[in-house]
Symmetry: C2
Subunit: 191 residues, 2 copies
């Protein structure tokens, strides 16, 4: 998606060969108009699918998910990284490893909000090694919901996430695919 690539080139920052910082419009400050455009692109890509629920992971997947939920008129469920102590619900849980933060964290979803009859579109801001996405897949499969599609805002295509997710039988739609972040230069895989 050209608009997103322009944002990444203009406001993004290749911190090192593995880390792209997009704090200026996704991960700390959010540009709502851009998020709506991302949502429209995803809506268009999955226009032939029936979607009844958007699933994402807190925090940065929430913004594009919300606008897509608005356009499709379906609820958005975000998997929690820091489950509230006030919940007494039965939950689906899985462990996810974050390479960026170098730690494991538990991802949780109340059984109330994910069902067998849900047709789910999963959205996340980044895909690197695919750990978060695979965690979400496990939870969606455990709930016996149907995973109809996976949309990623920024894919680090030089890492193994897509391959691992495809091996599980799912395809990945990415709005921007980073080929390399070497030497502070952001290079995309052309569409």
């Amino acid at each position: 998606m050209k608009l997103l690539e322009n944002y990444i080139q203009t406001y993004g920052e290749a911190i090192n060969k593995d880390v792209l910082k997009v704090d200026a419009f996704i991960n700390h400050q959010i540009d709502p108009k851009l998020m709506m455009e991302l949502a429209k692109d995803i809506q268009n890509h999955f226009q032939n699918k029936t979607i009844t629920k958007i699933v994402t992971i807190e925090t940065s997947g929430i913004a594009p998910s919300l606008f897509l939920g608005y356009l499709l008129n379906v609820p958005v469920v975000y998997l929690k990284k820091n489950p509230s102590k006030i919940t007494t619900d039965e939950c689906y849980q899985t462990l996810v490893h974050s390479f960026t933060k170098n730690k494991d964290y538990t991802v949780t979803c109340s059984k109330k909000y994910l069902h067998q009859d849900d047709k789910v579109l999963f959205i996340d801001d980044f895909m690197a090694n695919g750990e978060a996405c695979i965690g979400a897949i496990k939870i969606i499969e455990e709930a016996q919901a149907e995973l109809c599609g996976i949309a990623i805002i920024i894919e680090k295509a030089f890492q193994s996430g897509r391959k691992k997710v495809e091996e599980l039988g799912y395809s990945v739609y990415s709005l921007a695919r980073i080929q390399s972040l070497d030497n502070g230069k952001i290079t995309f895989i052309s569409e």
Copy 2:
């Protein structure tokens, strides 16, 4: 706001006399259409103010903030509870105590995204003892930005948040004001 009160009565749950659970449409599953209606109400309330930035705290303040940011065409900045280790930015930081989780946490904002010339509307999902809001006020004041308004989705009016914030010289606009959660019954302060 009647629509919100209806949602709270229908889908909310008074866990005990202090805790209202709204996981079904705000804190875990999000209803995007409702969030847009909340944003329109806030926009209407502050229509005479010039707003250049929405500030909120991750995670549950993000949804209404985003739609308001979309309507006003201004960026949304969310204060971070779990600052990323990849940031090298200079930050504003303050300590906030959570009574619900019974722990202190650090709230952080990069100096890049909050400036002296910003006219800020602060939004949060809940106000109880006002700790989170006061933390945000500290950060906004430290950045020398102008705090033009505070909008709270659900105020636990039987707790001290509003009083404390008013003592700092700010007024609070709440979309729903809970009078009591006693005996599992949710009672509102009438408008």
